[in-house]
Amino acid sequence: MYIREISTSKLFAVFDRRYTQDEFRAACQVVPGSYADFFVLEMHRCLFDHARDIRAEYKKYYAIEYPTISDFLFWKYGIDKETAQQIASKLTKSTFVGYSRDTMRIFDDETVKSVLKEILSALGEFFDENSD
């Protein structure tokens, strides 16, 4: 997992895969229909539902134009080179790279990161001890 909120409207997130709403909700263990459930749906929408799969986009439309995905992120999305390389370094064969312009602006918070880590651990996400 790697999440980076850049400015107030750009979020980049790298996960092992795109988790479905049902499995994400189940892992959160909140009461269906409650306010916490609404919050969980917002998180899922932001990270997965409304996120554009930019790895797929790169492969389909831009792989000829940009030699690497970090070049693509730098030129197409205006991300600084260091962040672009960090994202690229997280990629494996099955990785989902989501881009959202409708971020909740909470994902840089350490409590939120640790909550998300626990949710995704329950869903089998791999966490590298050395990753941020």
Binding site: S34, Y35, A36, R105, I106, T111, S114, V115, I119
Partner: protein, 137 residues
């Protein structure tokens, strides 16, 4: 005159109302929002609970602090800020001896409080009523 050349943003604070028939504890708050004891979201909503707890005060004190020149009764002063339905709830709760608290969340404290500060919501169960509809974002 001041000229600012870098990124400029605005901050916000929004009011909330809590009416409780019992003590407003973390466990009761988590039950209100629907977070189970095993839920990974517990630490996140605990942050919200502590923000509410830290910023809430008895309605009467809030009204007197907020409207410095209250010459009328404090409930009347609150009418300029809250909807009639909320005022009716506050009046009824006061009459029945329930606890009524008012306060503000700020967008400047931490990411979690900021998110809930700009969200607009109203939740209740048999013990607690939480109104955070007065979102001025």
């Amino acid at each position: 005159m001041k000229i600012r050349t870098d990124f400029v943003t605005n901050s916000s604070s929004t009011s909330f109302v809590i009416i409780a028939t019992c003590e407003f504890t973390e466990d009761r708050f988590l039950e209100l929002v629907g977070v189970s004891a095993q839920s990974p979201l517990k630490p996140l909503f605990a942050v919200l609970y502590h923000s509410l707890k830290q910023n809430m005060c008895p309605a009467k004190d809030y009204a007197r602090d907020y409207y410095h020149d209250v010459t009328q009764d404090w409930i009347t002063a609150l009418r300029s800020q809250f909807a009639e339905e909320v005022i009716n709830r506050i009046t009824k709760a006061e009459r029945e001896g329930h606890k009524v608290y008012l306060g503000k969340l700020s967008s400047e404290e931490n990411c979690i409080e900021s998110f809930f500060c700009v969200d607009s919501f109203e939740i209740e169960n048999e013990n607690i009523y939480l109104n955070a509809l007065d979102c001025a974002w």
